[in-house]
Symmetry: C2
Subunit: 414 residues, 2 copies
């Protein structure tokens, strides 16, 4: 690669960051990228649950494993379905104005193919066929794959079968929709498949879900994460701040939902077609979280979507948030990250928020999103072994977290 | 006693009903009363916590121990301070229109003295002196006692020192305020003092709080309650429906309060003088229920009041409810109770609600109170070892509870 040093962006949850993630960051650098910017979900993640660790130590782990700058994907996008999740995350990288490539792992490792698939699934020609397939009663994913197969051939359709390819396709769609000049860089994903259970094969990277399972069962997991990250996770667990589990706030979720009306459920993101009635009846009948999920879930409404809806109800997240994130919230940065931020001051199309006062000076939309983030963190804390007081978001600048998260980088100050 | 058979009313929580309660019912009958009507708190009680047992088995225990008719004291009065609690309860007995006496246990056992004390504490002459005492910073109870002592003498003032006398005085005040023709019948209270901890003395009745302590610690308590009641309690515990504990819904209470604004706290019953700020700050700092209570509590705001305020926040009980209960809700009755109900159909000044449809046909005020009761029961259930689905209130008629509470009295049907 020649010309200006290339900055690459990565979208991540790091729940938790594992050796496969660290390997992707290394590969991105080996491919000639000079710096890595990460957009990371906050305290709640896409599967509709709290992340195992607070976002601040997770950002810290990312920096320790090679990231230069970590920005937060605000809750309304972090806890959304793949399309909205990808659009929000890509828009943040794009808004920095100095990120040249969007890097991600996928099962095929070929960006051109994913871009073709993105065009296919967005093609107007697909819509009538997709509608026909859906009417026959098969689930959305299968209907879409079938329709793409008929219109665009098996090679493209096959890409719609693997979770990381699908996410890659969403990234390509987002780049298109945003008219972003960032180019996609797909890396061949190695290791256990996304969301795989059980133990990883010898010599393979474990998936985040495998590591979560080990952590939640109190089993050793250190060999599966980079030592720098493992140390941070261990400190969090020793301090009683992790692992966070929605189960700990079970009566809080049930109580909240027992007090909600059909209308309240109708105003949640991703709730339509009378689903509010199914949720309302389920919330009134359910006596546990598992019971609640099981009652709402169906062929049409898969578990992940159900979990996100329940989480939205608990956190008070409604459907009336803006299309794109209104600010760039800093979670942490390296020395090189600081230089990127200096560049971004000139290139960014969104305000960069290093601390609370930066957000409070913005508009109503930013206020609303930040207020939601505040509440989410106050409730997140009730999911951890030892709850923290409210207001962690209000003292959020990464260099102010010495007391709570055991580190303080004065030099990390802007 | 001569003339018409006298029906006596008793105000009770029966949390749980113990041998002292059963003895009071017997004494009331021995004093010549022909029947006993009980006004009983619902699922939540005056100390701002869930009752150990659902209201339906508690009503059942009351019937098994000599009560003829059990009516519910709705939540806004059951979970209120002594004055409002007494006013609501006495108004229900009074509204039946056929109850001649209000019976209660007190430390002095002399209704005339308590009536004198009631007049004293309501006397307009007391107000300026009380205000002066309060201004010096002493707590309300001490200030009032001092002021009564100065104006009305030590004998009357001393009555304000004992909890059951104080409640008796509130009953007398309520009778006065309602212009009720019921006459107070004070019985000498025997056994452990109200709210006493530890074990009762040999041969003495245990207090409800002593029995609650035993039950919560999984210790034997049968000898302290009438066998008929003990059997009902045991069945409830075996079924996982008891004992109910607010601690089980701890994250639900904390989560609810973490989402409330200062304004929300200001609209709670019993919150004024800027107390909402103290509660708001406490709710944001507290990491457990005990921590929450300890932060709000002060010399001026005793624990019981703090507990009631926290409970109100949790249940969504605000200060804008009516002065008096809008209906007479049946929890259970004996054959004699059924005859009283037949009389009451002619004499009652409030509608008698035997089941949900009776309430739903009433006005907006009744609707609001009942909706609140519904939600409270749906949340109460989350405080029990095995939560029940929502809607228990909707199938509330006492003869319909066979499935849930293990009994069915077809003959109990109106």
């Amino acid at each position: 690669m020649v010309g200006k040093p290339l900055i690459a962006g990565i979208v991540a949850e790091f729940n938790p960051l594992h050796s496969g993630h660290a390997s992707l960051i290394r590969k991105v650098r080996e491919a000639g990228c000079d710096a890595v910017v990460v957009v990371m979900s906050g305290n709640f993640v896409q599967r509709g649950e709290p992340a195992l660790f607070y976002k601040w130590p997770r950002a810290r782990a990312a920096l320790a494993c090679g990231a230069d700058l970590v920005l937060e994907l605000p809750l309304p996008w972090a806890a959304a379905g793949a399309e909205r999740f990808a659009l929000g995350a890509v828009s943040i990288l794009s808004a920095l104005g100095c990120v040249g490539a969007l890097a991600f792992g996928s099962e095929n490792g070929d960006a051109a193919g994913l871009q073709r698939a993105a065009k296919a699934v967005c093609s107007p020609a697909l819509r009538p066929l997709l509608r026909k397939k859906l009417a026959s009663g098969i689930p959305f994913a299968a209907a879409r794959e079938d329709a793409v197969r008929e219109l665009f051939g098996g090679e493209t359709a096959d890409l719609l079968r693997e979770p990381n390819n699908i996410l890659g396709i969403e990234y390509c769609k987002a780049l298109d929709r945003l008219g972003s000049p960032m180019r996609p860089l797909a890396f061949l994903r190695s290791g256990s498949p996304h969301d795989a259970g059980g133990a990883p094969d010898e010599g393979e990277f474990a998936s985040s879900s495998q590591i979560r399972e080990l952590i939640l069962n109190g089993r050793p997991f250190s060999r599966l994460v980079p030592p720098e990250a493992g140390e941070i996770y261990r400190r969090e667990m020793d301090a009683g701040r992790a692992p966070a589990l929605l189960k700990r706030a079970e009566t809080a979720v049930l109580a909240k939902m027992r007090c909600m009306s059909r209308g309240d459920f109708r105003s949640l993101p991703d709730v339509s077609e009378g689903l509010e009635n199914r949720i309302y009846e389920s919330a009134r009948a359910a006596v546990s979280l598992e019971d609640l999920y099981a009652r709402i879930k169906s062929k049409r409404y898969p578990l992940a979507r159900v979990r996100r809806i329940v989480l939205s109800a608990f956190l008070g997240l409604t459907a009336d948030f803006p299309r794109l994130p209104p600010y760039l919230r800093l979670l942490g940065f390296s020395e090189k990250g600081r230089r990127i931020l200096n560049t971004a001051k000139k290139t960014a199309s969104l305000p960069i928020a290093a601390n609370v006062s930066d957000i409070l000076s913005l508009d109503k939309t930013a206020d609303n999103v930040f207020e939601l983030e505040n509440r989410a963190t106050d409730l997140y804390s009730l999911c951890t072994p030892c709850a923290e007081p409210c207001g962690l978001e209000m003292t959020c600048a990464c260099w102010e977290r010495k007391y709570l998260f055991g580190y303080s980088d004065k030099r990390n100050k802007l």
